[in-house]
């Protein structure tokens, strides 16, 4: 079962990548008032149902995939793709 995991920089933390991309977009004539850049990870795990899959992914997220010091994460509520 494939589920998506979104990992974003915590709001209080410096997101220099987002800021730089935002500037660059604006310089090129787009209008963006905020840009945050994180990761999107799709994990394929063995599970009977979505809840079981999400639980597994939560464990992995907590174990290694995200850094609580600088990031927050969100596991999607439906299967991916």
């Amino acid at each position: 079962m494939k589920i998506g995991l979104k990992i974003l920089p915590r709001k209080e933390v410096l997101d220099s990548q987002g800021r730089t991309v935002q500037n660059s977009l604006n310089e090129n004539g787009f209008r963006v008032s905020h840009c945050t850049i994180g990761k999107y990870i799709v994990l394929d795990v063995d599970a009977q149902n979505i809840n079981e899959a999400r639980e597994k992914i939560q464990k992995m997220a907590e174990f290694i995939l995200y850094n609580p010091l600088i990031e927050t994460y969100e596991i999607e509520n439906q299967t991916y793709g």
């Binding site: 220099s16 990548q17 730089t20 991309v21 660059s24 310089e27 090129n28 850049i37």
Partner: protein
């Protein structure tokens, strides 16, 4: 004395190194600022040096590829002015679609600094006219994203038209066909991941990079 424009983006960090290399072979180096456009007629060559333009954010080279100065670089290319891209410069030229393909994260997922042995594959651009085909040279690499990748047809075109500039003897990063550098079909643009400006005299450990600049 040939006048060489060296492009500086925010985060470029090999600008001075290239200027010194250019000057050591008697060229005249002039910096060009990323927000400006320049008069292409004034320059006999343009170099996009290495570094971390825009902090390597989004994708390496991507944000530099849309900076204002790239309009002039594009124009210079149209006029056939020799352009050299080194490391981040190579990444920028790919992102600007002036060269085929893309440079991805090294296979080992780590940055690698190493003196690499290369084989010159084609000498058909003025930038490499001082080398012999199949000549082996030693030039350092220093990159985290140097794994060259392109679609099948592009690769075939590179091979068929003899546009591969140099290959690694001991592929450090997983590049397809061991590619270290390529040129465009017009042959005025050469770009490579290794840093010839870091191999300009014996005390640097190698002077095999001089050939790239000697024609200046």
């Amino acid at each position: 004395m040939k006048k060489v424009g060296i492009v500086r983006f925010l985060g470029t960090n090999c600008d001075k190194d290239v200027a010194l290399a250019v000057e050591s072979v008697g060229g005249h180096a002039q910096y060009l600022w990323y927000q400006d456009q320049f008069d292409v007629k004034e320059y006999e060559a343009i170099v996009l040096p290495g570094g971390f333009s825009y902090g390597d954010y989004l994708r390496t080279g991507a944000l530099a590829a849309i900076a204002p100065i790239m309009k002039s670089v594009w124009e210079a290319n149209q006029k056939g002015i020799p352009i050299l891209g080194i490391c981040n410069g190579f990444q920028i030229l790919c992102e600007a679609k002036m060269l085929p393909g893309v440079l991805m994260r090294n296979q080992k997922q780590r940055f690698i600094d190493e003196l690499e042995e290369l084989q010159i594959e084609s000498t058909k651009s003025v930038w490499i006219s001082n080398y012999q085909s199949k000549q082996k040279i030693k030039i350092p690499i220093a990159h985290g994203e140097g794994r060259y990748y392109a679609e099948e047809d592009d690769l075939k075109a590179l091979q068929d038209q003899d546009l591969i500039v140099a290959t690694y003897l001991d592929n450090p990063n997983g590049s397809v066909y061991d590619i270290a550098g390529i040129m465009n079909t017009q042959k005025n643009i050469v770009a490579l991941m290794p840093h010839p400006e870091r191999a300009m005299s014996d005390w640097m450990g190698s002077q095999d990079g001089r050939g790239f600049f000697q024609w200046l």
